[in-house]
Subunit: 448 residues, 3 copies
Amino acid sequence: MQLNKILPLAAVAVLLPTLGIAQDEVAEAANSVETLNAEMVFIFNSLLFLIGGFLVFFMAAGFCMLETGLVRSKNATMQATKNVALFSLAGIAYFIVGFNLMYPLGDWVIEGWLGGVSPTVLEPVGVPFDELDDVEYASIGSDFIFQLMFCAATASIVSGAVAERVKLFPFLIFVVVLTGILYPIQASWSWGEGFLDEMGFSDFAGSSIVHAAGGFAALAGVIVIGSRYGKYGADGKVTVMPGSNLPLATLGMFILWLGWFGFNGGSQLAMGTVSDVADVSRIFANTNTAASGGAVAALILSTILYKKPDLTMVLNGALAGLVSITAEPLTPGLGSATLIGAVGGVIVVLTIPLLDKLKIDDVVGAIPVHGFAGLWGTLAVPLTNSDADFGTQIVGMAAICGFMFVTSFIVFSILKAVMGVRVSDEDQVTGLDKTEMGMEAYPEFSNS
Amino acid sequence: MQLNKILPLAAVAVLLPTLGIAQDEVAEAANSVETLNAEMVFIFNSLLFLIGGFLVFFMAAGFCMLETGLVRSKNATMQATKNVALFSLAGIAYFIVGFNLMYPLGDWVIEGWLGGVSPTVLEPVGVPFDELDDVEYASIGSDFIFQLMFCAATASIVSGAVAERVKLFPFLIFVVVLTGILYPIQASWSWGEGFLDEMGFSDFAGSSIVHAAGGFAALAGVIVIGSRYGKYGADGKVTVMPGSNLPLATLGMFILWLGWFGFNGGSQLAMGTVSDVADVSRIFANTNTAASGGAVAALILSTILYKKPDLTMVLNGALAGLVSITAEPLTPGLGSATLIGAVGGVIVVLTIPLLDKLKIDDVVGAIPVHGFAGLWGTLAVPLTNSDADFGTQIVGMAAICGFMFVTSFIVFSILKAVMGVRVSDEDQVTGLDKTEMGMEAYPEFSNS
Amino acid sequence: MQLNKILPLAAVAVLLPTLGIAQDEVAEAANSVETLNAEMVFIFNSLLFLIGGFLVFFMAAGFCMLETGLVRSKNATMQATKNVALFSLAGIAYFIVGFNLMYPLGDWVIEGWLGGVSPTVLEPVGVPFDELDDVEYASIGSDFIFQLMFCAATASIVSGAVAERVKLFPFLIFVVVLTGILYPIQASWSWGEGFLDEMGFSDFAGSSIVHAAGGFAALAGVIVIGSRYGKYGADGKVTVMPGSNLPLATLGMFILWLGWFGFNGGSQLAMGTVSDVADVSRIFANTNTAASGGAVAALILSTILYKKPDLTMVLNGALAGLVSITAEPLTPGLGSATLIGAVGGVIVVLTIPLLDKLKIDDVVGAIPVHGFAGLWGTLAVPLTNSDADFGTQIVGMAAICGFMFVTSFIVFSILKAVMGVRVSDEDQVTGLDKTEMGMEAYPEFSNS
């Protein structure tokens, strides 16, 4: 409800005094409806973040299942451990540094480029209406929990790409830097009202800011760490290393799809007016149909190219559809949204083998799905949203991906120099579960 | 809140002018409370659909896990692929044709029987209050996303029954026809204000319209496609083909149970008054207890009949309990709801072996769970809801199931004639994952 | 919204009559805003319970996956069956007896100690505003569904500890007693306004009332039933019996973490004011960070102690963090919440081996995670909440855990005497799935 719809009652407040009624009390009367409305808006907005928060939280499980299902069983315990640990560390790093670094609210160290550093402080218990931090927005706690989940997602993206050979603790150190510092800095440029926001860069829910950012951090990691032992032969032969548990990977994809309703829907940032809730509804519908488009396109194209349908391509196609619509899930119609997602699916089918040709060993296809489809989604914004333009989109993409790639490359390189980031070839052959963890994922099943 | 509770303020609007205050402004003042209330109702209703939407969405994952866990490992990749693809295709077919076919809103081609054909158009971005499509209902996008999930569920039901031998692409073509045309047509008869609605047929959330509809489409498919190779011996011997991953199937059942809160709760279609939210709460409680009743009845009966408890019967019993309560989750008390669900569980335990005697090879028990328990649930409505009567319920059940069976039979038969629907016996022995997909679900585990 | 914010409009109602406007109608006018507000609060509160309800429901799936993944594959079907059956039976027992026993609302058999016995009756269909049971709270159905899930959780906790050797039906009889009688009685002492509530015992969402209660019931069960065959050698040697499916266990942990947002967030019991929704938001943030703290602490400590990171410790550490914050998820800041969770993680890493030294065979670590971390969480309340004191907390913990341990011990002992509670050693070697169920969880995979 727009507040100005309450104004008529305020008009009564102006008129009644001529009849001898004390103006203060009548003004308060008008105020009571206005206050009720403001409170309802605040509650709905906070509720949107809470629902979006738990949905996007669950994406951590989705990434974990997807990745654990796509690695070989000898590395599955390690992959699960990495996913639980990265999410846990992200939560702490984002609270201590990340959140306020990402939303400086004017407190920039370098205006528009680098926010300030301080831990997150929530609103006090039982905060009354007139002490709310931002009465027209939502509670700090709800905003924090929602934004944290986006931050953690970037780390989950990296985790899949560098699977099956990265050492646990160096990876987790990278996660702390990524989620505490790197992601928040570049996210502040757009969502913290930094220089990209000033320029008019448009990325509704993070095709670039979350997904391409994660994808390019992953690319840096993959390059520094190197490919898995045995993946690329001297003769240019690529060894297929099939995932050990495709039903689990499928579950992971479905959980991610589920979480994406919160990811994109919650990014409307408001639900307390009919316009906002109708927009959230549009976003739900567009998000779903883009995933459909990506999955169907990947199914058809992979069948045409390889003669047989390929489940992992279909899963990644659906995810690419979701990533593609994330930069602008609101303005497209259902038809455009389906097509935007379908292009994402096509990109994935075409670029996954391309990476192998370049000997870039991305275990789960995270770089195509999040990186390349993320770029496509960002570039597609001006197709349906006249407030965006291609030039600015390209500048934003370059800034975000360039920053994430370079800084991640540096961090991984330092870790490599200081403590090593790569499990030895022998241990890779044995499997990280036995050598690094001493604990098998499926001790009774595996034939290997 | 009933709008007439606002009327007293309107009374002020009538009285004040006698005091010289401009009537327009005071009327607007009264209007502001009325508008606030109307907006809140709209937001709550839309939110119910969005929450219901993501919950029922997740049922796609539930069906996928249930079915993938209940097939043999050599067909698990195929089953996962079918489930992802069918959901994706349903999303597109329902947007292009299904939604408006199901809700003609007066635009019938044949009044009450066949709606019109046009793609779904959502409300514009940032739609203001006075341009909402239906201010007393909910946003189009939220309604669309909720209804789509019901449509997709019918396809998931069929998928489980015809598993392990149906060819992928013919099945997917059937899915497009089912979700774009068949389901919406019969659903329009009841929920689109068609002839069954006129007659007083009562099916709150779709025991018949979704579940029995899916179950009878599945029955047609099973008959046309035939049983799995080796299932029924010439001597009448039935070969048990145990599911490969029962924990995954159990997870699928739990996900479906979770989704059912959205399925039935969302079907209240409103949450913006205390009466509606209390009704949604009743529905949650009844839905849960019916599932309990179905599971416990199946546990006890299967233990009595077979001397040992049977997990797949318990899973299907819980699902049958859920299907049974779906036609009327509101009017029963907790005791009646438990019993209605328990009868569903009994039906499943008794009819699953019956189908085997008839050589109807339903891999996951979808026909008993969704078809038979769906009929029982529909028939049980008059037991607790005096607005329904047995005669009309039977007419509705016959119309829906007859239509779905006959049309599905025709479509499957055409597909059989044109391109074949059944994987060859040899390939069934090898497994669909290797022969049709070239990709194993658990490449490192399977002993077979 | 505090109702007194509406009062100004009531002031108008008092003033206007002096102008000749009928007092009744104007009072009603003021009333209309007040009523609207009251209705919105009721809807939001009920919605909180419904959302919390489905989230905590899903924890049943989380427990099931965690436990099924942590048992050996030869007992996985049994573990899944127990989890589905226990949740189903809890639903029925809690509706017939438990709910009203837990919330006597003044109808005590023994004042403050033992409530009365009657089945749950929901509000009638379409209940109008002025017939609501408690207009300032929430609908009965929403409260019932939310509270039921807490009750069922206690049974899930026991189920994990006694896995791999308890007989199905004796266990299920225990579950009926636990969820229908034992849990509700002790829960009434605190949450049903019984003697612990009178004393000022403070357990926000159930660190003791749910988790330690379940943990100490589990301890009684483990002692009566005895350890698994072969677990403890005569020479004091402990045989490690590794879980068969760690990815599934990881999924279970993530589902539990997800559900905990509803568990703790919903325990605010209100969401219809800005203060309440901001408090729910605080709770979400604190709950998440406590889990992070627990997981990270367990990761680091287990790596230090055992040289290698241990996934099951990390999973249990996260859960212990969640249990620890459950007694007071509102008053801590993010830093304190992280530390409270971290201590929980440390407790788990230190006490899991301790139980083995005492030959207490807790298959999944439920007693340390829920019992010991639950006690820690309860004891930690006064650290951040000045309304609580250590003495009262200790009294409450002793009363709850003592009652649960003793009564559970008695019930298990009676079951042992009457029908036996333990599967024979031979059948344990073969596995419960084959001997008790005749149905394998992974018939095609297992090497054993």
